[in-house]
């Protein structure tokens, strides 16, 4: 059988394919439904939070920061409760990262404030002496792309039944309703409302001015996203 395979490239290729596809079939496919159920307290990303996530991805923050707390005492001491599968139910793509050049950010919203992030992004040394993280000054001038965010919200709501405009249960027994706009202009309004709430706590006058003009600098979106990581 084998020497026959060796002389028939097509069937040889089929044989190789079966050998390599086998692992994927057994390992990956059957767990799909199971792993993607959200845990209580996990809500979809709001418009501005998702915009912040896009900024996070655009700048490859995940190259240096993980979002995965492993179940060790040293990690739960440092970062908070270890990660649960359902907490990632609305993460497309996942942002676990593979290298902690900087600390984990899975629950950074629990212990860092808007003010801290603002200073840190402008000049990491001012808040963390000895930091090797570069400054991200362009975030204060670049504008967040709300259009693309809205398109993504529509896509995930339609194809993956992400519960926008629906009540989702929270840990304290209350419900949360994450709003998704009915039109592009409404999406901008929703994002701007969220941006104003963030900008109140910020110091940078240019950013504040931009928000009051109705623009959303990337930094505002990014901070909204950071604050949502809990």
């Amino acid at each position: 059988m084998f020497h026959w395979l060796e002389k028939h490239p097509f069937f040889f290729a089929v044989g190789v394919f079966i050998a390599i596809a086998f692992a994927g079939l057994i390992e990956i496919l059957p767990n799909f439904a199971q792993a993607s159920r959200p845990v209580i307290g996990t809500a979809p990303y709001s418009t501005l939070e998702l915009a912040g996530r896009h900024v996070y991805i655009k700048n490859s923050c995940n190259a240096c920061h993980s979002q995965l707390v492993r179940p060790f005492k040293s990690e739960t001491d440092r970062y908070g409760h270890y990660s649960l599968s359902g907490e990632y139910a609305y993460d497309r793509p996942f942002l676990w990262g593979s290298k902690r050049t900087g600390p984990d950010l899975m629950r950074v919203g629990n212990y860092r404030t808007t003010d801290w992030h603002e200073n840190h992004m402008k000049d990491p040394h001012s808040v963390v002496p000895g930091s090797i993280m570069p400054a991200y000054k362009w975030l204060f001038t670049n504008k967040a792309d709300i259009d693309t965010v809205y398109a993504e919200q529509l896509t995930v709501a339609q194809h993956f039944s992400v519960p926008y405009n629906q009540d989702v249960p929270m840990r304290d027994g209350s419900v949360k309703n994450v709003k998704m706009a009915q039109s592009l202009s409404e999406a901008h309004e929703i994002a701007l409302e969220e941006a104003k709430a963030v900008a109140v706590d910020m110091k940078d006058q240019d950013v504040k001015d931009a928000v009051s003009r109705g623009e959303i600098p990337e930094i505002v979106a990014l901070i909204a996203y950071m604050n949502s990581l809990k």
Partner: protein, 67 residues
């Protein structure tokens, strides 16, 4: 039987079969030493060593190469 069990059985049976096939292959290689065309496996190394365009193939596809 739930999906996890099917998964486990599928995994076990297929792995077992593939292990059998692999050992069968080893047994075949080291007892027969030649393939069905009667070519010693080791002589296939010459495909790399004698690879000029006018060197004779280890086992030619056909004498005239009509295709």
């Amino acid at each position: 039987m739930n999906i996890a069990e099917i998964q486990a059985y599928g995994y076990f049976i297929l792995t077992f079969l593939l292990v059998l096939v692999l050992y069968g292959y080893i047994y075949h290689l080291y007892t027969k030493k030649r393939d069905a065309d009667g070519v010693d496996y080791e002589s296939y190394s010459n495909m790399a060593l004698k690879d000029d365009i006018d060197d004779a193939p280890v086992s030619a596809l056909s004498e005239e190469k009509e295709k």
